[in-house]
């Protein structure tokens, strides 16, 4: 090929190797990586954490820190070798030709400079425009990213605007000088799902408008489908499969890519419909990669003597110019889709938990002088208001909602870390709403246990796994003899499918997934009748997430425990739960059996949530409903319906003024809305299969 043919190539990465140099020596984070981006193209780079995708982005920016560097190969941007550029040339390109959007918008913005100062700077530095012109252009760009009231925002500090708005600022900053390449590093991971949907829409629109080349880095295949033309899947520092969206999703060839699809819960099926197949094992550390295929140790098609011999090249498939995979056995593998789940509803229908108009208010003092003078210095945060629902023995009830909806507060009240302000929580026949954990008896405490979100915080780093589980066993008087306690610990480890030797390990010697398993073992060690799981898998990678979900499911079945599953992820909730409670701003908007929630009639908020869920299937189309504005402050919620300020189906005054009724749609399906059920039932479903002919 001649150079001329490459004119429309914006970025060309050729066989680069990126290493970090640490005390233990050179760590090859990315051993060999190639990528070619054409002008105007949108490319998605997917992979789990630690696979090297961010490292690649930083290498493109030539910003690997003092201990990192490109050790081989070349990165050419618009035909120029980045490595050969002087500091001055590099500075010229950064921020003007190549721009970047980061994962955490809050920390990416300077807390002590106004938004305006940080935006204008880009134009002043790169285009030497006057302050006045820079200002005008920044305001225009803020308008382009749908920022409400751009003039005012220019004078604000980052902490004064919401997370979604901060990300819009970062995107505006990146687009200001109309870059030819935009790198997006997990730009929506820190955002709530409805906010994420609007930001994704925005990125897609800006891309069309400015004809920018995108490199979109994400762990979420569902997002990639929405914004990209081509996808590359990375595993342990290497690209394992690459192709167009169509090729990668429909003609998947690499075992790792299959594996990913098999372990992602989708909105299409629940635990009865299919099983999740976790990928066994864990990613090997960069300096401990096996010879041959890096995925080999976790691959079910692994063939000794073939897959572990020498380097494996990435090869084009079936004569396609775009579809490539790094697997020697790609033609021999016949992938079988995961088997159907086999779940019999074991519930005897006994109600274990009955929440009856439970509310939890926090008092906050307003320390502004005006408030004190007016004598209104006490404000109430209505974290939970009039919650009503029931949970039956052996079932899984999910509470879904975005941050600030009050779902974690509910967990605290239930476990007694907080007490209810009013209403009842009847647990196994006893009203426990007003009893704090210090006043609960051992039987009650033992009956209600919890699994937490963050694997790094869930285990005390100073104590061994054995101590941690053993303490529960002793505390709840199950065993007291040290030998028996040890046996019981071993049993629990066995149940969560970890070797007994793990009892002597400290948390820092465990992976995230293993820590969550220990947390599950700890929660179930006292034979509780109910376990509350607060976002137990949201901090885990998908391949590990599946294993923990399966585990929770199995252990629950084994002990016939009621599981209260708190989550923001509708796909996971869809998979695991029998019943779902949807919360918004402290109130329950909709509740009912899992499948009824995903079909009309919908509460308008549920409808918006479902519309925002990223789905890793190019064939499914979602009705597009986007929420306007920001979630109101919990200190000053709307008077009538909590959702009225953002509701796309807002009726009028009645929504703003009067609290909506709880309408019974039959079979325990309750919707809190002023819109008549009949009308709600008439909307078309959010999801439908794309018409193949169209």
């Amino acid at each position: 090929m001649t150079d001329r043919a490459n004119d429309d190539i914006v970025l060309e990465i050729e066989n680069i190797g990126i290493s970090y140099f640490t005390r233990i020596g050179e760590i090859p984070a990315v051993p060999d990586f190639s990528l070619r981006l054409k002008r105007g193209e949108s490319y998605g780079l997917v992979g789990e954490s630690g696979c090297g995708k961010t490292t690649v982005a930083m290498a493109i920016m030539n910003y690997l820190g003092r201990n990192g560097g490109v050790v081989k190969g070349s990165i050419r941007f618009e035909g120029r070798d980045m490595a050969a550029m002087s500091g001055e040339e590099l500075r010229d390109i950064r921020g003007s030709k190549i721009a970047m959007v980061y994962q955490e918008p809050m920390s990416a913005l300077n807390p002590s400079l106004t938004v305006g100062t940080q935006l204008k700077e880009v134009l002043v530095v790169h285009e030497s425009v006057s302050d006045r012109e820079a200002r005008d252009r920044c305001v225009r760009m803020l308008r382009d990213v749908n920022m409400p009231d751009p003039d005012k925002v220019m004078g604000r500090y980052p902490h004064q605007i919401s997370g979604g708005q901060q990300q819009r600022v970062v995107i505006a900053m990146a687009m200001l000088s109309n870059p030819s390449l935009l790198l997006l590093d997990e730009p929506t991971t820190a955002l709530d799902v409805t906010v994420e949907a609007t930001v994704i829409d925005l990125i897609a629109r800006l891309r069309e408008k400015f004809d920018t080349t995108l490199l979109y880095i994400s762990h979420n295949l569902g997002l990639i489908v929405k914004v990209c033309d081509r996808v590359g899947v990375m595993y342990s520092g290497s690209m394992v499969e690459e192709g167009t969206i169509e090729e990668l999703f429909k003609k998947t060839r690499h075992p790792y890519t299959f594996g990913l699809f098999d372990c992602i819960p989708t909105l299409g099926a629940d635990k009865r419909g299919r099983t999740l197949e976790p990928i066994p094992g864990q990613v090997s550390l960069p300096h401990e990669r096996p010879p041959g295929c890096a995925f080999g140790p976790r691959c079910k098609y692994f063939k000794p003597g073939v897959c572990d011999r020498g380097e494996i090249p990435i090869e084009h498939l079936d004569g396609s110019a775009t579809h490539r995979a790094r697997c020697l056995r790609v033609d021999e593998i016949e992938h079988v889709a995961s088997s159907a789940g086999s779940e019999v509803d074991a519930s005897d229908g006994e109600v274990v938990l009955d929440i009856n108009r439970m509310s939890k208010f926090y008092e906050v003092s307003d320390i502004s002088l005006a408030a004190i003078l007016k004598g209104e210095s006490t404000l109430y945060v209505k974290a939970n208001e009039h919650l009503n629902f029931k949970a039956q023995r052996g079932r899984t009830v999910a509470i879904v909602g975005e941050s600030g909806c009050g779902k974690s507060t509910f967990a605290k009240v239930l476990t007694g870390l907080e007490t209810a302000t009013e209403g009842e929580i009847v647990f196994e026949g006893e009203n426990i709403g007003a009893i704090s954990v210090e006043k609960r008896d051992r039987k009650l405490i033992r009956a209600l246990q919890m699994v937490f979100q963050n694997p790094d915080g869930t285990l005390n780093p100073s104590h061994s796994v054995g101590h941690c589980i053993g303490r529960v066993v002793r505390k709840f008087g199950i065993e007291s003899d040290p030998k028996k306690v040890r046996e019981r610990v071993g049993e629990m480890l066995d149940i969560v499918r970890l070797p007994k030797e793990f009892a002597t390990r400290k948390p820092r010697q465990l992976s995230g997934g293993q820590k969550q398993r220990i947390a599950v073992a700890r929660a179930f060690a006292g034979n509780p009748s109910m376990v509350i799981a607060d976002e137990p898998v949201s901090a885990l990678d998908v391949s590990v997430q599946a294993a923990v979900i399966n585990l929770l499911n199995d252990v629950q079945k084994q002990y016939n425990t009621t599981l209260l599953f708190i989550s923001h992820d509708l796909s996971v909730v869809r998979f695991i739960s029998d019943e779902i409670v949807v919360m918004y701003l402290g109130q329950i908007m909709e509740s009912g059996a899992a499948d009824t929630i995903f079909e009309p009639p919908y509460h308008p908020y549920t409808e918006a949530l479902l519309s925002a869920v990223p789905i890793p299937d190019p064939d499914i189309e979602q009705k597009r409903i986007r929420l306007e504005g920001e979630m109101p402050s919990v200190l000053d919620p709307p008077k009538g319906c909590r959702f009225s300020t953002r509701c796309p189906r807002h009726l009028g005054e009645i929504c703003d003024e009067r609290e909506p009724p709880n309408q019974d749609a039959g079979g325990g399906h309750v919707i809190k809305c002023h819109i008549p059920l009949r009308e709600l039932a008439q909307v078309e479903p959010i999801f439908h299969q794309k018409d193949a002919a169209a």
């Binding site: 005390r23 991971t189 864990q282």
Partner: protein, 306 residues
């Protein structure tokens, strides 16, 4: 703000353990292993060497000296260092300087650690209570600390010692009183950081008593920063004891006291033949403090490296 946890997923680095293979050790083996870690920082090594030197001298003061610290050599006043049987010379009363230094080290290294243990006991208790319970307990403890901390330290020492008289016990009381609010503040901060972690909630949910949570769940995880802080404070306490001696508020004479030795000899610094009397104990104090500070720096470096 609500106490709603940030619910968006914070993804962890990789699904692999942070440190791959670190076998567990117990007791003495663990201590040796941790001391081995010090090799990675030459600052810490030098610190250990200096502190170790003075600790050995203090313990074996009887063995490493020829003369008693109070013994007066009638035939040798103002003997210069490095000449004859008095290694570091003698003072105006003919007392052996090396011997006074060695026994002075013993005094310092008894008073300073004792004061530190007391200060840490008090400070940790106050900080834990304030940080864990919050509310009015926190308010009360924090306000009392604020008041003590707004007394300039030296004035506090001068008042306490001049009121109650100079003695080892009073020095310990003064240092404890002055240092514990600062320690309390650090512990309170650490407790506040730790108390919202999930393993603490887990302990609360399984009905553990507050004392258990503080002692078993929180304290062990605060020890890293506290050890570094203790090293720094040891250095500072050695300075304080020196200052008290220098100001005439230290151990009453003729007890050997480094600060007191400098004070006695201060006027002579400008006289060529007497300067060593002030310089030698000054070097002793400075070296011990440098030792502690280098050790603290090295420990911090090691602990933040991974």
């Amino acid at each position: 703000m609500t106490d709603e946890a940030r619910e968006s997923a914070t993804r962890i680095d990789a699904d692999a353990p942070k440190s791959a293979e670190q076998p567990d050790r117990a007791g003495f083996a663990k201590l040796l292993y941790n001391l081995g870690l010090l090799r990675e920082s030459w600052a810490a090594l030098i610190g250990v060497a200096i502190v170790g030197f003075w600790v050995l001298v203090a313990i074996f003061a009887d063995a490493v000296t020829v003369f008693g610290p109070l013994e007066q050599d009638q035939f040798a006043f103002f003997k210069q260092p490095f000449q004859g049987e008095h290694w570091l010379g003698t003072d105006q009363l003919g007392r052996d300087l090396w011997s006074r230094l060695a026994y002075g080290a013993r005094n310092t290294l008894i008073v300073a650690p004792t004061a530190m243990v007391c200060a840490y006991f008090l400070g940790i208790s106050m900080g834990m209570l304030a940080g864990y319970y919050g509310g009015w307990i926190d308010q009360l403890i924090s306000r009392i600390s604020d008041i003590i901390l707004s007394f300039p330290l030296i004035i506090l020492f001068i008042i306490i010692i001049s009121v109650f008289g100079a003695s080892a016990l009073n020095i310990i009381v003064a240092v404890t009183l002055a240092a514990s609010p600062g320690i309390g503040r650090i512990v309170r901060g650490l407790t506040l950081d730790l108390r919202n972690l999930e393993y603490v909630s887990a302990a609360q949910i399984r009905g553990e008593r507050s004392l258990y949570i503080m002692a078993v769940e929180l304290l062990p995880n605060a020890r890293g920063p506290l050890i570094v802080d203790a090293c720094l404070r040891m250095g500072y306490t050695v300075i304080t004891i020196g200052i008290l001696g220098f100001l005439g508020l230290g151990l009453p004479p003729p007890e050997p006291d480094w600060g007191g030795m400098v004070a006695e000899a201060r006027v002579g610094v400008t006289v060529p033949n007497l300067a060593y009397l002030a310089i030698v104990p000054s070097i002793a104090v400075s070296s011990l403090v440098i030792g502690f500070n280098l050790l603290a720096d090295g420990l911090r470096e090691i602990s933040t490296r991974d």
